[in-house]
């Protein structure tokens, strides 16, 4: 058993769990934060994406005990049904989902991705390695390739993200 202190969405949690517990299982099964979803459980689909210390990661491919003292933000920390974050509202406005299962991961990933792009990080499709100037649709698709949507709502996911990226420039 491992005792781990986690700061999640601004609240302190003390987790006592088997060392095998992934961060995703800790969130969902131990702390009742079921917004983060388990898709493949192997880092391939992105449904479990959360922010750890300001960076988006796959919560299924990391152990909870590795994150003692870390700052974690999940979809529950971004907004609530009566108080949507701008990205959540844009996903609704652009009809950026069908079944919705991948959506929390898409939104957490998009949040991290927009910050990365605004910091200037290039991507595989960037023409040069200079600071990124414009987050084109091709850039959004490449940077979001770690999030799968089996309903294939991709065109509207890109539109929603593009709107928020432009608004927060």
């Amino acid at each position: 058993m491992q005792t781990t202190s986690l700061h999640i969405n601004g609240e302190e949690h003390t987790l006592k769990a088997d060392s095998r517990t992934t961060l995703l299982d800790a969130l969902r099964n131990h702390l009742g934060l079921t917004g983060s979803k388990k898709g493949c459980d192997h880092g391939q689909c992105g449904a479990c994406t959360v922010m750890v210390n300001g960076r988006r990661i796959n919560s299924c491919l990391t152990l909870a005990c590795m994150h003692d003292g870390d700052e974690i933000v999940t979809i529950e920390g971004l907004g609530a049904p009566e108080e949507l974050s701008s990205l959540q509202a844009a996903f609704v406005a652009h009809d950026a989902f069908q079944c919705g299962y991948c959506t929390p991961g898409q939104i957490c990933s998009a949040m991290g991705m927009i910050e990365e792009a605004q910091t200037g990080w290039p991507s595989y499709v960037s023409e040069t390695l200079d600071d990124l100037k414009e987050l084109s649709d091709e850039e959004i698709s490449e940077r979001m390739s770690g999030n799968l949507c089996r309903c294939a709502a991709y065109p509207n996911i890109v539109r929603a993200i593009r709107q928020i990226a432009k608004e927060t420039e």
């Binding site: 491992q2 088997d18 060392s19 095998r20 992934t22 459980d41 192997h42 880092g43 992105g46 994406t49 960076r55 988006r56 990661i57 796959n58 491919l61 990391t62 152990l63 005990c65 590795m66 003692d68 990933s109 991290g112 991705m113 990365e116 910091t119 200037g120 990080w121 290039p122 991507s123 595989y124 960037s126 390695l129 200079d130 698709s141 490449e142 940077r143 979001m144 390739s145 770690g146 999030n147």
Partner: protein, 329 residues
Amino acid sequence: MKPFDYVRSHDAAGAAEAVAQGGSFIAGGTNLLDLMKLEVMTPDKLVDIGRLNMNEISATDDGGLRVGALVTNSDCAAHDTVRRDYGVLSRAILAGASGQLRNKATTGGNLCQRTRCYYFYDPVMPCNKREPGSGCHAMNGFNRIHAVLGTSEACIATYPGDMAVALATLDADVEILSAEGKTRSVPVRDFHRCPGDEPEKDNVLEPGDLITAVTLPPARKGSHFYRKVRDRSSYAFALVSVAAIINVEDEKIASAALAFGGLATKPWRDPEVEEVLIGERPSLELFEKAADILLADAKGQGSNDFKIPLARRTLTAVLAEGCGMEAPL
């Protein structure tokens, strides 16, 4: 997942000592935990080195760069000096995995990632790499993604990574701390092993050996390229990739560093391929000659035969681009 003891390490020497007695280091964990869930790897102890002080990128006295083993792939690819002077490395890292994985995966861990051979990943199947002596079912089985160079009778598993392919062109070194507290440096080109009759050994690390950094010599002159051919345009392993640093002066190829991914059992660099190009005027005939040398010993297993002509076309296309010529179709 099999049960294991988890220990957080506070110093590198202690971590190396602990793992020398069994178990495994864990840093990003993106490959190790994937393999542990499938029980392909079953360490009885994890020594977490994630918070050791090895996450800096700094200039070296000789004008090169030292990338700490815990620098994430994202931070390495985005670092100003890496982008400016070692573009092939940024490009290769950005060609691999996803944004989320690159945020967690580390420089040292990336070097140690395991093959994605389907048989290695399936504990029900025989696999000489996972279980020495059990046989190789990829040889006469599904082998579309498998290697055509550096294989042996025991193993045809492809080295999966992108980063190390770029590091091979840069003549990078891997800095290693042993369990006895000694530091040594191994060229990236000699770090990974061909399988031979010991396919279970991916690299030259001994139990307890801890990668502490990767060091890059001063930047090479030339244009940097990383071209990756794969089944989908993002977030997939290479079928063939080519890392290249090409310098053309007075209409002749003054220098060329070339390394290949997806093709071999380790990041592949063949000095003879470079020698045939250097000092010559670029031409498609010359590029074909380089490809002949690269692929002279290539051996397909059926489903992966296509990699041989694909490697030829990818190499000639990269050389043409590097020499400012029209790419052949």
